[in-house]
């Protein structure tokens, strides 16, 4: 069914991808040069500094919940108020932390990452 004649990026498909989002070698900015700059390296570091520790922290907290519910049943069965026990609160805590990390990341990206990245783009634009 696949026709070998078809070009790699058919024009019909192109029609709804703006030229700005074109990432082929012909793009307007010299990305190869960009990738090597210290500013870009700093941006990648800032991104990694948030993303990696947060992922590790979240997974550890997730794992803690699994282990507690599996091996500390007496503890997770402890009633906190009414019929609600520790295990249930820990479970809902997972939802709350998911939400919390998402908000934190979004704010970090708006405040720290985007301004840095736009600055890089602007400077790259001037170089041309």
């Amino acid at each position: 069914m696949l026709s070998p004649r078809r070009s790699v990026t058919p024009t019909t498909r192109r029609s709804c991808v703006s030229s700005e989002t074109d990432v082929s070698g012909r793009s307007e900015t010299d990305f190869e040069h960009l990738q090597a700059t210290p500013e870009f390296a700093r941006l990648r570091r800032a991104l990694r500094r948030f993303v990696f520790p947060m992922t590790v922290a979240f997974l550890a907290w997730y794992l803690l919940y699994v282990l507690l519910t599996a091996y500390a049943r007496d503890f997770v069965s402890t009633k906190v108020f009414g019929s609600v026990n520790v295990g249930f609160l820990l479970g809902w805590g997972q939802f709350v932390t998911t939400f919390g990390i998402a908000i934190l990341y979004s704010r970090y990206a708006d405040r720290k990452l985007d301004p840095q990245a736009e600055q890089i783009r602007e400077e790259a634009g001037e170089h041309r």
């Binding site: 019909t12 498909r13 190869e32 998402a102 736009e118």
Partner: protein, 495 residues
């Protein structure tokens, strides 16, 4: 399961109204859809709020609507694992792929594969994987819709399967992504109401009795999922849902409707909010159902009979109305998930197999629905959450490593990407097939065959990294440009 408790005229009317509303909203959106861009990505004009409701609308399939509550009834607090994983999956999507992927300019995973690696063969492999995931996900939707309508209205199962397929195909063919966006956003709010209102009313009417199940040993976490195999199975579910969400084609294709990387991030945060609210209500509904004496082995439709069981005597009318609401929400869940999946399937078929014009999108939508309809008609009894879990497992074993490594590591080669996807996907599909063939003979390993992610995902990552290192000379020099592009804001003057 087919106790006939929910079979009532109000429920049938409610279901009819949902279908009618879906068709009408779809028809309204159709007037706005003209170009290929409208059909595939809604012209990238969807704001984060609408988009988030639409993403949640299609993501919350019947597996979430009926299945999670049914699992709570069956397993108690342990079943929290599913909604936690379903929600946390968006966190992984947000942290690792949302913004860079949107900036790539691609709008399907095959597009991304081509932009990142410049390989037509890798693109085609990705296309095949998209179709398999979509079909694996569509089958339980159609199958479940057939069971639901059989239960509610008493028609044979195939009528429901074909009926839902027809409504969904018609709306996708008519309006594409743009009108489906409106439909799905509406369906999110409908589904939330269909859970939240019954929960609030039942708590008010039942008072303290609503949560009496919490006092039984059943509610203690750690006892569910069948004892011995509990822990590894939980890990597998966690891995599949946490990492699989980012590889689901119908979720990804929605992200391309964002106007930029920042909008993609804002959308994700809102999706997580909407999901948490929804699952909170669903879990409560499961608890109330258990307290009301719902049968733990009752299957996915057990929730539908709960209002009638919980509220009798003077509140019987309320029970009937609430049952109708839940039925309406369930139909909305089948419709929204199926239409999102079909848009994703039609998107890749029309651009990868056909020339990609509007007419091709329509043809592709029809082609895309035929296979799952055929399979759903032939399928026996299935458990919606578990079959949907297979689609998550496959996505986690193929597209998750492809996207995460492709975005974050320049060293991934074409050979590495292909080998990783083939091994991970092969293991995931092979395990599921073996599980079906072996049936009960799988014994104590049946959980692994049902939930192979705990093995297939690490293998996929390892093979992708290993083969890439072995073929590292084939890394293209252009990859630096592509990566820089992914990690910088899409357009300077966009906001």
């Amino acid at each position: 399961m087919n106790s006939g408790l929910g079979a009532s005229v109000p429920s049938a009317v409610a279901v009819g109204l949902v279908v009618l509303a879906t068709v009408l909203i779809g028809a309204y959106g159709q007037r706005l859809s003209r170009t290929t861009g409208d059909f595939l990505v809604a012209s990238r004009m969807v704001g984060p709020t609408w988009n988030a409701a639409a993403i949640s609308g299609e993501y919350l399939s019947a597996a979430s609507f009926l299945g999670v509550a049914a699992l709570i009834v069956q397993f108690g607090a342990d079943a929290l694992w599913y909604p936690i994983g379903f929600t946390a999956g968006y966190l992984a999507l947000l942290l690792f792929v949302a913004a860079p992927l949107r900036r790539s300019g691609a709008y399907t995973v095959p597009d991304f594969a081509q932009i990142r690696w410049g390989s037509l063969r890798l693109r085609r492999l990705a296309t095949v994987v998209v179709l398999v995931i979509v079909w694996l996900y569509l089958v339980p939707q159609l199958h479940g819709a057939g069971l639901l309508l059989q239960y509610l209205v008493g028609v044979p199962r195939w009528v429901g399967v074909v009926g839902v397929a027809l409504v969904v195909t018609a709306s996708v063919v008519a309006g594409g992504m743009r009108s489906i966006t409106f439909v799905q956003a509406f369906q999110y709010w409908l589904k939330l109401s269909a859970v939240a209102v019954p929960v609030v009313v039942m708590i008010a009417l039942l008072r303290g009795d609503a949560f009496s199940a919490l006092d039984t040993p059943w509610a203690a976490p750690g006892l569910g999922f069948g004892g011995g195999a509990a822990l590894p199975e939980v890990y597998s579910v966690v891995i599949a849902t946490f990492l699989g969400t980012m590889g689901l084609p119908h979720v990804l294709v929605r992200f391309y409707t964002n106007s930029g990387g920042g909008a993609a991030r804002r959308t994700t945060v809102q999706v997580i909010t909407l999901l948490v609210v929804f699952y909170f209500c669903t879990v409560l509904l499961g608890l109330i159902s258990r307290s009301a004496g719902a049968d733990p082995a009752g299957g996915d439709l057990v929730i539908l009979g709960v209002p009638a069981r919980a509220l009798d005597g003077s509140a019987a009318t309320a029970g009937t109305v609430l049952a109708a609401m839940i039925a309406a929400g369930a139909v909305a869940a089948f419709l929204s998930a199926s239409s999102g999946l079909l848009v994703a399937a039609a998107g890749v078929i029309s651009t990868d197999v056909l020339p990609g014009r509007v007419r091709d999108f329509r043809v592709a939508a029809v082609l895309g629905v035929l296979v799952p309809v055929a399979v759903a008609l032939g399928a026996g009894g299935t458990d919606i959450v578990r079959v949907v879990g297979m689609a998550f497992g496959l996505a986690a074993s193929t597209f998750c490593p492809l996207l995460v490594l492709g975005i974050w590591w320049r060293g991934v080669t074409v050979a590495g990407a292909a080998a990783g996807m083939l091994c991970g996907g092969g293991l995931a599909l092979g395990a599921v097939t073996a599980g079906i063939v072996l049936g009960d003979r799988a014994g104590r390993w049946s959980w692994l065959l049902e939930q192979p992610a705990v093995i297939s995902v690490p293998v996929a990552f390892a093979v992708m990294i290993g083969v890439s290192l072995a073929t590292r000379r084939t890394v293209r020099p252009e990859v630096d440009a592509v990566l820089a592009r992914l990690h910088l804001p899409g357009t300077l003057h966009h906001r």
